[in-house]
Symmetry: C2
Subunit: 436 residues, 2 copies
Amino acid sequence: VIARLPCPAVSNAVGIGLLGVGTVGSAIAAQLHERAAAIGLRTGVTPRVVAAAVRDVSKPRPTLPSGVRVVDDPMAVVRDRDVRVVVELMGGIEPARSAILSALAAGKPVVTGNKELIAAHGPELFAAADAAGVDLLFEAAVAGGIPIIRPLRESLAGERIEAVMGIVNGTTNFILTKMTEDAADYGTVLAEAQSLGYAEADPTADVGGHDAASKAAILASIAFGVHVPVAEVTREGIESISAQNVADAKRLGFVIKLLAIAERTDERVAVRVHPSMVPITHPLASVRGAFNAVFVEGADVGQLMFYGRGAGGGPTASAVLGDVIDASVNLTKGTHAALGAFAPAALTPLSECSSAFCLAIEVNDRPGVLAAVAKVFGDHGVSIRSMEQEGMADAARIVFVTHRAKEAAVRVCLDDLGRLDAVRSIASVIRVVGVQ
Amino acid sequence: VIARLPCPAVSNAVGIGLLGVGTVGSAIAAQLHERAAAIGLRTGVTPRVVAAAVRDVSKPRPTLPSGVRVVDDPMAVVRDRDVRVVVELMGGIEPARSAILSALAAGKPVVTGNKELIAAHGPELFAAADAAGVDLLFEAAVAGGIPIIRPLRESLAGERIEAVMGIVNGTTNFILTKMTEDAADYGTVLAEAQSLGYAEADPTADVGGHDAASKAAILASIAFGVHVPVAEVTREGIESISAQNVADAKRLGFVIKLLAIAERTDERVAVRVHPSMVPITHPLASVRGAFNAVFVEGADVGQLMFYGRGAGGGPTASAVLGDVIDASVNLTKGTHAALGAFAPAALTPLSECSSAFCLAIEVNDRPGVLAAVAKVFGDHGVSIRSMEQEGMADAARIVFVTHRAKEAAVRVCLDDLGRLDAVRSIASVIRVVGVQ
């Protein structure tokens, strides 16, 4: 195959082994085949797929170039002498973890897009890659096709990063965008997303923020050089976001987005996922539908945003392909990318995080209520930025936006508000992000 | 200095030489000093400034860490034995070019943000770096602090890039944003930009698109692996954009942006800079004021956008710092980034480029004019997407938006329109980008 193409003399063929041949694996194999000449010219290496592990070897694989050895045992691919770089596309924890550890132990660089595995077993895998002196690359694990891991790790290696905020889950962004643009309620839009295939039958991993929490842990670890166990990521999903919340936000000049946030607070790191009101003028506000974006704030560079498709075969294949080429180039040169030393994270507990808040409460509409409510905020040092009151039959709905305040102080306010006779209920509490 | 910091054992000190110590040079020196421990922990190297060339050695340099040798001869810094990486921040062609060539010839990697030099002498400099087997990095040359060169070169090394479109000049974006948001005319806003320091007293390099053309040439060369002489970049500035054009665009659902565009047309590359109408829903439309953004369209990855500050000391220093660390890491490992082989570009002449167009013409308001005008478009196969007619005294103004058409066909239409008795003038011709 390669002999027919006008390859430059410098081009080194590098055998690639695929663990898993779905949409992404097929795309990788096809692209390495079709673009061999261009890639060789540009990078000096010509990676090509030589072996692949699949679940069912009897199934025809018309998308794989001829000559690829197809087996059913991932370990056979890892052990294959012609395989010099292993690409893990099986997903899940096992056997992916064991296969990756074996590859690394054998001195073979690994490329994976397995966010669940990286979030859960990052420290073990990074240590194995470091010990073996080979690459472990995972650009596809966060925000699909958007180059974000490499820019954070390399371009911003000298930057003091203050915060990373990402729209990293396309399903929830699709739902929130639809709720905003069609003034529709959560249940209706979720059902539509499910019928369109944008949401799973059991949507918990997406709408509950679990997927975003894995990505938040990975982003935090890369941006701040710390290990963040995914179980320690504060997590709140979008299930309780109502059409009323979306309308309130819109009226006040905000949109609601599910954000994965990792930020420096003094010398600790706060990592959380929650629905957030973002000013409509903020770059993240215009990220619509299934698109993803990662917003980075650095001491010197100021605001950066990386935008693109967070899921799908093409974008994921693009990210994996970039890593495959990088790993192949490094292998040929006898080098590897520095993962950096990861310190155990000193994580900021949620109670010590601060942000602005949008609070909606329902009260009995009688004189003096507002004063009583305002006094509670004042007593706990939570300063009010704006307030709107709306009558409803014999009751009223008050929507407050606070200035930046500690979570703990706001929680105490809410407890005290709940104890006021005039307060019927705390209708909603949504954090406001991207304001001073 | 380093001894006082808790540096890990793996950290390798790398001596850096600065050519030029302005805002950026001072920031680099300070950041490498202050963040030595963090950078060492993260990357395994500790670059630190050991020598600097300045114009006036008698001037005190309180921003430079103590121990930095300050001289007035750039070549003395290049030759300094302790200098292992050279950072060129002088700007202009000479003596920057000679100093860089000397450094490369001596096997010293070079970092520069000099877009003028890279655009004018890229092939010579790339060849010198390649021959010496060392890095020549220039992230700061395009879009300031936004990581774009490294993502294009590495993350997207396997992607088939179809187009790169950038808002890469902050001055013109500031002016066009103000014209849009304040409905102000070009002259007024230019004067304001000049008084605020956003535009030079002689604004030609910015408003005439010269600066953007240099960046377009660099982006094209990285995205498509071709040499693009800056003189061959089609260039049109924003000087003739009127408040009327901005108002027309707004009414039709567009904003006007000065775009640097490099796109694949068959197997050639078209590189141009011109004012462009962009749909308000396009990610580039929300890039306001002095911000920059580079939009990339790839065959697999789809749409990507990289957004951030394109100028200023902090963002530029951030980009240079990332390159300094990368060059230091590579040097320590005895490797360097592949620049790729650059083929001479087969550039698409403007006449063969295609886009949609927004044309405004002034006609005598009498029966049959519209039919005559429409016939001209039809005769040359240019299809009309929308048309608006507005009366003015005894004349009318017609604003057409065409479907995608070849430049040559539109030029012939305009010639023929000019020959119609009823047509008083072609008031404006603006390309429309980001539509099908």
